[in-house]
């Protein structure tokens, strides 16, 4: 029961952290057209930050129950000075900062704090600084992608077609580099965890394969958007509806990946 609750909370944190942080990062890179939807995007980012902070606190409580800790100062000091404690603290502090979000220039720093929480605790970060760096780059790239999609969906409703097309082109151009970072980071982490020896008799490896399958679908959908729907926008305005549906599908796939990753990192070990 507590294990299932821990996995659920982790999935919520993944989704909220990547959405909130991603909007902050994408806002910083996508240029002036974003300003037209900045209010709505910032509002979503603030809600996501609030969720990260609250669910982070709840997760700390669930970890305490699962560990059966004596709630005395020496034990709490040790638990919260561990990598797990550091990760939870980064989520709470970064989440509150994202939720406050008044200083636009500082918000990306809050976003990076939240994303850093995924690189300080877990299978890979505990074993190698390089693996921790790869995870940070992987989740930061995924966050930027999710944040960019959220901004694009808002922009598709409120921007003039010419401005929206310009924003879309800029996103598409930056996404090439970001997806490269996402794939390289993910491949390095997978290589580290599986020791270049995938074994489908192990549950961890099978669930990781499911995650890879979902990621492949996501990339296929992104390629369809870039090479089919984006060019169609200039010829037929109705392609915008298809593009909006496709972006919604991308967000659903990201949610599925977050749930799969939460199950993977809560219940399974690559060595079981």
């Amino acid at each position: 029961m507590l294990l299932a609750l821990a996995a659920l909370l982790k999935a919520i944190i993944y989704a909220a952290a990547l959405t909130g942080s991603g909007i902050a990062l994408a806002r910083a890179t996508l240029g002036n057209e974003v300003l037209a939807v900045a209010g709505r995007a910032a509002s979503l980012s603030r809600w996501a930050g609030t969720t990260v902070a609250l669910v982070g606190l709840l997760s700390a409580g669930v970890y305490g129950l699962r560990l059966g800790i004596a709630w005395d100062p020496p034990t709490l000091r040790w638990v919260f000075s561990s990598p797990l404690g550091a990760a939870l603290a980064l989520q709470v502090v970064g989440g509150v900062w994202l939720a406050a979000g008044s200083q636009a220039l500082m918000v990306p720093i809050a976003a990076l704090l939240v994303l850093l929480s995924f690189a300080v605790s877990g299978h890979a970060p505990s074993g190698s600084v390089l693996a921790a760096t790869a995870i940070f780059l992987h989740v930061s790239a995924a966050a930027w992608w999710i944040g960019g999609i959220c901004i694009l969906r808002e922009a598709s409703r409120s921007l003039q077609p010419a401005s929206f097309s310009q924003l879309l082109r800029r996103f598409s151009s930056q996404a090439l580099h970001v997806v490269a970072v996402l794939l390289i980071g993910g491949s390095l982490v997978a290589a580290y965890l599986l020791e270049l020896d995938p074994d489908l008799s192990r549950p961890y490896h099978r669930v990781l394969l499911v995650k890879l399958g979902l990621a492949f679908l996501l990339l296929a959908l992104a390629a369809f958007n870039k090479f089919v729907l984006m060019p169609a926008l200039t010829r037929q305005p109705s392609a915008l509806i298809s593009l909006r549906r496709s972006m919604a599908s991308e967000l659903i796939l990201f949610a599925a990946i977050a749930i799969t990753t939460a199950a993977l990192t809560t219940k399974l070990s690559p060595h079981d």
Binding site: Y63, R66, L67, G68, I69, A70, P74, T75, W78, V79, S82, P83, L84, A87, S121, G122, H123, A124, P125, S126, G127, S128, L130, A131, A134, I184, S187, L188, A191, Y192, E195, L196, S269, H271, D272
Partner: protein, 118 residues
């Protein structure tokens, strides 16, 4: 481009080289699990495969669950609970710990204390 590919390949090799990144596992205990002892041991020792933070230790017997204090508090490979005062019969010593990779690990050992001679 070629330099990038070489850098990525080197990074992959560097990452894969160290392979000691498993959950903490109990390596041994004293008395060993399954032991049948004449009287309650003076202490119970737990040794883990890698530095671990033991957070919970309790004995479950027919008289219920009783929490045991242990030392050290914090990260270590070996922990000791002094004077566990096990009762005659089956005693299950349950433990929970936070492993190096941030995961909750748990397990138990069984110690049977022989009933006193009539």
């Amino acid at each position: 481009m070629r330099h990038w590919m070489v850098a990525i390949a080197l990074a992959a090799l560097t990452l894969v080289a160290p392979s000691a990144h498993t959950h903490s596992v109990l390596e041994s205990s004293s008395p060993a699990s399954g032991s049948v002892v004449e009287r309650s041991p003076e202490q119970i020792g737990l040794s883990f495969r890698e530095p671990t933070m033991l957070t919970y230790l309790a004995v479950v017997s027919t008289s219920g669950e009783r929490r045991l204090s242990f030392a050290p508090v914090g990260v270590a490979e070996a922990f000791t609970a002094s004077t566990p005062e096990l009762i005659p019969g089956r005693n299950e010593v349950q433990w929970r710990a936070l492993s190096k990779d941030g995961h909750v690990v748990e397990g138990s050992i069984i110690i049977v204390v022989k009933p006193p001679a009539p």
